[in-house]
């Protein structure tokens, strides 16, 4: 892939957008965490992003690499059946199917993603300050 990955701003920007997509999936998963369904097949399953490394054109020499979201997958997890005959969505046997989302797992995911996002901001802020100092060299 001919990537447009040439400098440090590209590296951090791509990494930050990847982490942002991860945060989006966490938000979607948490939003659907409490929803119930009549059919097992229709039930919501948590969405997870798949990260992959993108290398710059001369990565072996420069060592520049960033990250992209390759695809999104749905977790391979069965929705849990709950016996709630009063629920309007209950099937003939009185069961509803709850979305396959682990809220604890999503919270951990959210913390990790936001921390990584902050790390990238920190890197770019530091390097930007260095670049400004380098531009003003000799003044």
């Amino acid at each position: 892939m001919a990537s447009s990955l040439s400098n440090i701003f590209d590296v951090s920007a791509r990494a930050m957008s990847a982490q942002m997509m991860r945060l989006n999936t966490v938000a979607s998963n948490l939003a659907n965490a409490r929803s119930t369904y009549t059919n097992k097949e229709d039930a919501y399953r948590a969405i997870k992003p798949v990260f992959t490394t993108v290398y710059a054109d001369h990565a072996a020499k420069t060592g520049i690499a960033s990250v992209d979201v390759e695809s999104f997958v749905r977790v391979d997890r069965e929705p849990t059946a709950e016996y709630r005959p009063d629920d309007p969505k209950a099937d003939a046997d009185g069961y509803v199917y709850a979305a396959a989302v682990d809220t604890d797992e999503e919270m951990v995911e959210m913390l990790d993603a936001s921390r990584n996002y902050q790390n990238n901001i920190e890197v770019i802020t530091t390097l930007k300050a260095l670049m400004m100092r380098t531009i003003n060299l000799g003044k």
């Binding site: 440090i8 020499k61 420069t62 060592g63 520049i64 690499a65 890197v123 530091t126 260095l130 000799g138």
Partner: protein
């Protein structure tokens, strides 16, 4: 005749290498949660030594090679203290410390260069 580039000495190469190392460390931090990503780093000292005005190897025949083949490139893989289950070898605390150190040393090189330039300027102006 002494060129201005000679006056700046080793610091210009050091600054370039520090900048390159910053990019590598930033790439590591960017890939902190990518499965199977292997953290990389630059051997700063051995890279800098390539720019030292060392003695050229003498050869008795023109076909003799004057540089030894190197076993590895400039960018090498980091050995992790504890590899994570997904095959990622980025340890954020390590990378952040290396990054902080590298930024500090970049600023040191920048200061050296600044002093050299200030010296040149005052020599030119003759003040």
């Amino acid at each position: 005749m002494l060129k201005i580039a000679d006056h700046l000495g080793i610091h210009q190469h050091a600054l370039q290498l520090r900048a390159q190392r910053n990019e590598i460390l930033a790439s590591n931090i960017a890939n902190a949660s990518t499965p199977n990503f292997k953290a990389r780093d630059l051997d700063f000292l051995s890279e800098l030594e390539k720019h030292q005005p060392g003695e050229a190897m003498l050869s008795s025949n023109q076909q003799h090679m004057n540089s030894l083949p190197t076993t590895s490139g400039p960018v090498q893989y980091r050995l992790p203290t504890a590899e994570s289950l997904d095959g990622n070898t980025v340890e954020l605390h390590v990378e952040q410390m290396q990054f902080a150190e590298n930024v500090m040393k970049y600023q040191a090189s920048l200061n050296f260069l600044n002093n050299k330039i200030t010296g040149l300027m005052s020599a030119i102006k003759g003040e």
